[in-house]
Subunit: 339 residues, 2 copies
């Protein structure tokens, strides 16, 4: 059986309140007493009972990471591992715990929302990559649950951290333009996601800035997965592009495969740039010229914003923070710049 405050108190010859003060670093304890109590705590390995504590403090020291239903199929994308790594690191540094929830339960999104978010288990949540119209967001807002979004959102009331998708996509496309390409296609992410829309915007901006036409037969919607890349290539080839900006590395892997199958050389026949700079970008041949996004930072920043939100709840005058992290182009083999 685990020890309680009461027992530590008895062992140290003080009252329960004093032990509580010691544990919580209350300055109102005589030094000699504090030493004595700490010694007993150390010797016994006493650890406060989390549930008892949070019943009174209304804090659990747990934050949730939620993968909304709409993106659970992407969970095994390395992007999420990297994001989780950043988040857990930041949690550890702040002595917070992390609860992971995928909202794809058979019980249904609604039930799981109740179970996870209304049971007072979480001090706040990080929503990893929602679609623009995810019903989760208004609900969190309505229930006044502190939350931070990874990826931007239109509602003015939400705090978020995003990467600069527009600039990144523009760089990747301009790089192809600089290399002399005129017929540049793009494989987008699912248009329900703002990141996909933003990357498409960046692509268009680049074309327009250089007087190139935006041709809808050169635009194919993908799904951020490998299969989507493969399918997109089949739709794109008839328009004979000489280069493709693929909106994610994972899709680029599919594009590479499909192109190989069609007997096209990369970058010889068709040049490729993509987005993310996941480990797979250097695993394939040729290695991908791609836009690096600071995924670890994204996670750490989300935690930081959330803890801010938890510790000083927004008043009427405060406006939600919106952070956008920079991206950079990493040039490798797939674009043909290095031969």
């Amino acid at each position: 059986m685990a020890l309680t405050l009461e027992q530590i108190a008895k062992l140290a010859g003080v009252s329960r309140s004093t032990v509580s003060r010691v544990v919580n670093d209350d300055p109102n304890v005589r030094d000699e007493v504090r030493q004595r109590v700490w010694r007993v705590i150390r010797e016994t390995g006493y650890q406060p009972h989390a549930a008892a504590r949070s019943l009174v403090t209304r804090r659990t020291q747990i934050i949730g990471v939620i993968i909304p239903e709409s993106v659970t199929t992407l969970f095994t994308d390395p992007f999420f591992s990297l994001l989780l790594a950043g988040i857990t690191a930041a949690c550890n540094e702040n002595r917070y715990h992390l609860m992971l929830s995928l909202f794809n339960s058979p019980e249904g999104s609604d039930a799981i929302y109740q179970r996870v978010l209304r049971s007072a288990y979480l001090d706040g949540v990080i929503v990893a990559s929602a679609t623009g119209d995810d019903p989760l967001i208004p609900r969190l807002l309505r229930d006044s649950i502190p939350f931070v979004l990874v990826g931007r959102h239109l509602d003015k009331r939400v705090t978020y951290v995003d990467v600069d998708n527009v600039s990144g996509a523009r760089m990747a496309t301009e790089h192809l333009i600089r290399l002399g390409h005129k017929r540049i296609a793009t494989v987008t992410g699912p248009m329900s996601m703002l990141s996909a829309q933003d990357r498409l915007t960046g692509y268009k901006q680049a074309l327009e800035a250089h007087g190139l036409p935006v041709d809808s037969s050169l635009i194919a919607e993908g799904d951020y997965r490998e299969g989507g890349g493969i399918a997109a290539v089949r739709r794109l080839l008839p328009a004979s592009p000489t280069a493709i900006f693929v909106a994610s590395d994972v899709m680029a892997v599919g594009v590479l495969k499909a192109l190989r199958q069609e007997g096209r050389e990369v970058p010889g026949d068709i040049a490729i740039t993509s987005f993310d700079d996941l480990p797979v970008a250097t695993a394939v041949q040729p290695a991908l010229t791609t836009v690096r996004q600071p995924i670890d930072d994204l996670g750490r920043t989300a935690v930081q914003l959330l803890l801010d939100l938890i510790h000083r709840p927004p008043d009427a005058t405060s406006v939600p923070q919106r952070l956008v992290l920079p991206t950079e182009l990493v040039v490798r083999g797939s674009c043909g710049a290095r031969r």
Copy 2:
């Protein structure tokens, strides 16, 4: 402010206990009353306060997934995403919550153990892939915390689920032997991990079963990461192998890269087989002939074993379960069987 049992009771015109009984499906409630109470609960969106509940039940409905310090560097390996996906799915189905802990905090492994495991936050834990001598295991045993290991362990008291690493490695190696190779090298995982030892054992068994010598110059220790694969190739090439069994897909990606850099063709000059069948296995060129392990099952099974353990604690006579899931060889391009 969230509602309490008391308020629901008042609204439904019954006592707090009755509401509690309804919420907990106690049969001793008149049907008419049960209906009425449920209706109020539904209308108000009442959700029991988790902390209050677990303070008395001594259960949190949370299980932990722990990545021990020794393997945190491998966390972004897709293996863990896939494992986590299986675990979360099983958790959702059983209405359990999942807390994720990486034991690589600056506070130190010891402190984090105290904080995470001794605070009564977790009903039990899944330890994902420990080294054979991880100090975590004896501690969990000493503190009688229900836990399941992913990956086998020598201590008779631990419950685990593993994949058949030995057979898998044997198949992958025998496949190369069948293709006529005589000088077959291997890149192992870190020898501190039992899975790495087992895969090496399978490799040796295959050689011995076919009267081939085990030559230590054909064995190079890796680290289950890409860099380890690259480094191993440099050590192996002087022994002029015609084939290599690489103990993980991620390392195989490194091996492929290094070989390409050395101007060796795969599978023409050197044939490759590996282990895991992660998505990356089909992303690289040539696609990897590799041993598939049922990672999703591994996760689901771990949860199942853990819930068993939680719900009926082992008595003196019961012996810990040890499950070993089968593996299968998936033949693709890297072994040269299909040209």
